[in-house]
């Protein structure tokens, strides 16, 4: 083994998105030293791409009057189709108003209540109260009883991340960007840190810490059509699972967003429908009210995505060279509204589809969007299986979202989990000591060095990493989409098992020297295929429909047998994940009717 650089710190945070940075700030405020690792400069993390907003039941705007954490709690639990942990949801909805106000204190320019009368696009009249003027306002998002989504025009994730990163700078937290964690170091009981590879020069670096926090975001890029940033490959999840003792929770729960632009799959935020946009079919008929008379375009995301797919299957899609799609219509919102409140959407339509949404229709189709599953942790964010390992944000499954996440609940989750788990991480770290054996570290580094050597020399074969990846993406797209059925899922599992074999025979075409990008992809591919297998195999086993998991052969929710969470382990040498199940924590709201979209099928 060659010499390698080692950094030692109290708290190691893998991921500099909103969740990771909020955790770092909490650790700093508790007097702890931290290092944040990130594939990219923090401000380029995927969190900055969130446009729509963050849910908090402030109840300041007229359409939010009467809202409170109880109602937010109920919406979240119903939205999750009773798959979430209710103690987590309760803690979350109570904390999030504080989180929004604190972000305001730290500089987020939230849009504010403007007093006076207004007419909504659908003709409804309302009056914003004088006494609420200047407080943080909210917009409408799907699956919520009130207008609850706080926003800054359509750059909410951007302003949140910039404000959060400014705090990280102020506290002087150490950030190492262009560094990728490629494996966890642990002794079977305790996590000691990570082995990382520099994306600047390819060197391996060891990070040793009293506690390690995974904050690496989602895995959207396992799918060929995803709204996610290209760096969302789920690496934090598979390096945790790779330990053999840390499980991933509910990986089969994958969210599709109703409005990805065809064919670039860039997201049009739910804010577009929240602000009054319609979905139209090939006859320019507004079809959502036919299916969901009450919530229309603003039913839960899983419901809208299914209705759209159903409508396309019934022959009402617009044919195109990229397959059938539907239209999103925001023309009636008016130029002024579109060019100010929805400016980012106007820019995206112009730049990537050559469309002016003030005058033209936007071609859309449901697109992979969010990973409800992730590293399974308890309500403190402490991972199952390893002491000193925590997870936050989209990469974690402390399980706020169950089988369907509400729009606007994810940004909110990143900040709240950063606050709550950050505190628990700090408590743990203050009581922990840095004890480890040098040999454990050496063994892990050697293992990674050998993997790299083998990929470069082609010792195990010469499979092309990009080909395997393409086949994996297509398999998930074709067989593990919005509607699922047994035979398709079996096809996916079979194909992915073949890809899993091939992923272990990858050999590089290029030299692999330095920061070589092919090597980076090759190091990830096996883990990515494993995640794809966890999704497909978990979905195959779950013979019911719940939230985003819609089985055509099992269209009903089955609380008797399936009111439980899937835990997917990957024991060393296994060809399939080992599945286990645990009960869902129900503290307040017994399973019932979802209230809207309950006929979805």
């Amino acid at each position: 083994m060659s010499a390698y650089k080692t950094y030692v710190t109290d708290v190691l945070i893998v991921g500099a998105g909103l969740a990771g940075e909020r955790t770092a700030v909490e650790a700093a405020e508790n007097g702890l030293d931290s290092i944040i690792l990130s594939l990219v400069p923090p401000r380029r993390s995927h969190s900055t791409a969130a446009q729509g907003g963050m849910q908090a039941s402030l109840g300041n705007c007229a359409m939010g009057e009467g809202d409170n954490p109880d109602i937010h709690f109920q919406d979240t639990v119903k939205g999750s189709d009773w798959g979430c942990e209710q103690d987590v949801a309760r803690l979350f909805t109570e904390t999030v108003p504080i989180a929004v106000r604190q972000m305001s204190h730290w500089g987020v320019p939230w849009n504010r209540v403007v007093a006076g009368k207004k007419t909504l696009p659908d003709g409804r009249e309302l009056e914003e109260k004088k006494e609420k003027e200047g407080l943080i306002t909210a917009r409408d998002f799907g699956g919520t009883a009130f207008w609850r989504t706080c926003y800054t025009s359509d750059g909410t994730g951007h302003t949140l991340q910039y404000a959060m990163d400014s705090l990280v700078l102020k506290h002087g937290c150490t950030v190492h960007d262009r560094i990728e964690a490629i494996s966890l170091i642990h002794d079977g009981e305790k996590c000691i840190g990570v082995v990382a590879r520099s994306l600047r020069n390819g060197e391996l670096i060891v990070y040793v810490a009293k506690s390690t926090v995974i904050a690496t975001g989602g895995y959207g890029r396992l799918y060929g059509a995803s709204t996610n940033a290209v760096i969302n490959e789920g690496s934090g999840m598979f390096i945790a699972q790779d330990t053999g003792i840390v499980p991933l929770g509910n990986m089969e729960a994958v969210q599709f967003h109703p409005t990805g632009i065809v064919p670039v799959w860039i997201l049009v935020t739910e804010g577009a429908r929240g602000d009054g946009g319609y979905l139209l079919d090939k006859n320019h008929h507004r079809f959502m009210p036919d299916y969901e008379p009450k919530k229309k375009e603003l039913a839960s995301r899983d419901v809208v995505s299914r209705r759209m797919t159903q409508h396309i299957r019934a022959g009402y899609g617009v044919e195109s060279e990229h397959g059938p799609h539907l239209w999103l219509d925001i023309r009636h919102l008016g130029k002024e509204h579109i060019y100010t409140n929805l400016r980012e959407i106007a820019n995206i339509c112009k730049n990537f589809a050559g469309i002016d949404p003030a005058n033209e229709l936007i071609p859309v189709r449901p697109t992979q969007h969010y990973s409800m599953g992730g590293v399974r942790t308890n309500a403190d964010g402490h991972a199952y299986g390893l002491k000193g390992l925590f997870a936050v944000g989209e990469s974690a499954c402390w399980d706020l979202h169950g089988f369907n996440r509400l729009g606007g609940n994810s940004l909110a989750e990143t900040i709240v989990s950063g606050m709550v788990v950050g505190k628990k991480v700090s408590e743990y770290t203050l009581g922990a000591s840095l004890e480890y054996s040098e040999q454990t570290i050496k063994d892990e580094v050697t293992k990674q060095e050998n993997r790299i050597k083998d990929l470069i020399s082609g010792k195990n074969g010469n499979e092309n990493v990009y080909k395997i990846r393409g086949e994996m993406e297509q398999t998930l797209m074709n067989y593990v989409g919005i509607f699922r059925k047994g035979e398709d899922l079996q096809t996916a599992v079979d194909k992915l098992q073949e890809l899993h074999q091939r992923a272990q025979k990858v050999g590089l075409q290029s030299s692999g020297e330095g920061a070589n990008p092919e090597l980076a992809s090759a190091l990830r591919i096996r883990g990515m295929v494993r995640l794809a297998l966890c999704i497909s195999y978990g979905a195959l086993q779950r013979t019911e429909s719940r939230g985003s998991h819609a089985r055509e052969d099992y269209p009903k929710r089955d609380d008797e047998n399936w009111l439980k969470r899937t835990l997917a382990y990957w024991p060393e040498g296994a060809e399939l994940p080992q599945l286990d199940y645990e009960p869902v924590t129900i503290t307040e709201l017994p399973p019932g009717d979802r209230g809207y979209g309950e006929h979805a099928g």
């Binding site: 939230w110 800054t152 995206i348």
Partner: protein, 249 residues
């Protein structure tokens, strides 16, 4: 669309291997409909040359990762459609920033240094009170702050700036815009004197030669020159005040 064959001339250099001098490498690709430089570069990497280095994250012109010089102009590669370019396309990394390799540059470190130098965070003596309502703000003020806050730190304005290309310490339009963002924010309690320390000198608001390249190059269409003159006016007023105070002493 007529099926064009595109010829890409791409800058190649790996600072890890200084013995290989920088050179331009040529690749040919068939153009497809809706092709962006993002699509093209990935195709080149996956089918022709897996060693090629470049940066994309959001691929939606939101994150600022992918700025490069495309046929002479600094811009975001992900939102550049090949149909708007001639069949010969030259790609160079942004100048001013440290090269990571080929088309990838280290804008992250530059912007972090700038943010630390200008202390780009809200300076307040107030403690956050978790039990209190948020402080009120006029919606118009919030939107005014958001305008400069929209900067994605892509570096296009800096790369195209004559001053930044010769003065390493110049804050650039992005830096001055960032300062403007905090000046506009009533939550920030810094006094004009304190701001003067940050941007009153040659490397700040007065280094600009007024060539306006930043305005033209900003992919977010932020009116950078307007933000610059706002900061300058404030600093001039402060500069005069400082002078008069000195005289009075």
């Amino acid at each position: 669309m007529g099926n064009r064959t595109l010829t890409f001339k791409i800058f190649r250099y790996n600072p890890q291997k200084p013995e290989v001098k920088p050179y331009m490498q040529e690749y040919k690709l068939e153009e497809v409909s809706g092709m962006t430089i993002f699509v093209a570069l990935n195709k080149i990497r996956e089918e022709l040359d897996p060693s090629l280095m470049f940066d994309f994250v959001c691929r939606a012109a939101i994150c600022g990762s992918c700025a490069m010089v495309i046929n002479g102009r600094p811009t975001l590669a992900c939102k550049t459609l090949t149909k708007d370019l001639p069949a010969k396309i030259s790609l160079l990394p942004l100048p001013v920033f440290k090269l990571v390799g080929d088309l990838a540059v280290d804008t992250g470190t530059w912007f972090r240094d700038m943010a630390i130098k200008t202390e780009a965070w809200v300076h307040t003596t107030k403690e956050f009170d978790p039990t209190a309502l948020e402080e009120r703000m006029d919606n118009k003020t919030a939107q005014e702050i958001y305008e400069p806050d929209r900067c994605v730190e892509c570096g296009c304005c800096v790369a195209g700036c004559a001053t930044a290309n010769i003065r390493a310490d110049f804050l650039g339009a992005a830096g001055i815009n960032r300062v403007a963002r905090f000046m506009l924010d009533p939550r920030d309690e810094r006094s004009p004197e304190e701001y003067y320390e940050v941007v009153g000198a040659e490397e700040g608001a007065f280094g600009c030669m007024g060539l306006m390249a930043c305005d033209d190059n900003c992919p977010m269409e932020i009116p950078l020159q307007t933000q610059l003159s706002f900061v300058r006016r404030k600093m001039l007023a402060q500069g005069l005040k400082l002078k008069t105070e000195k005289v009075a002493l």
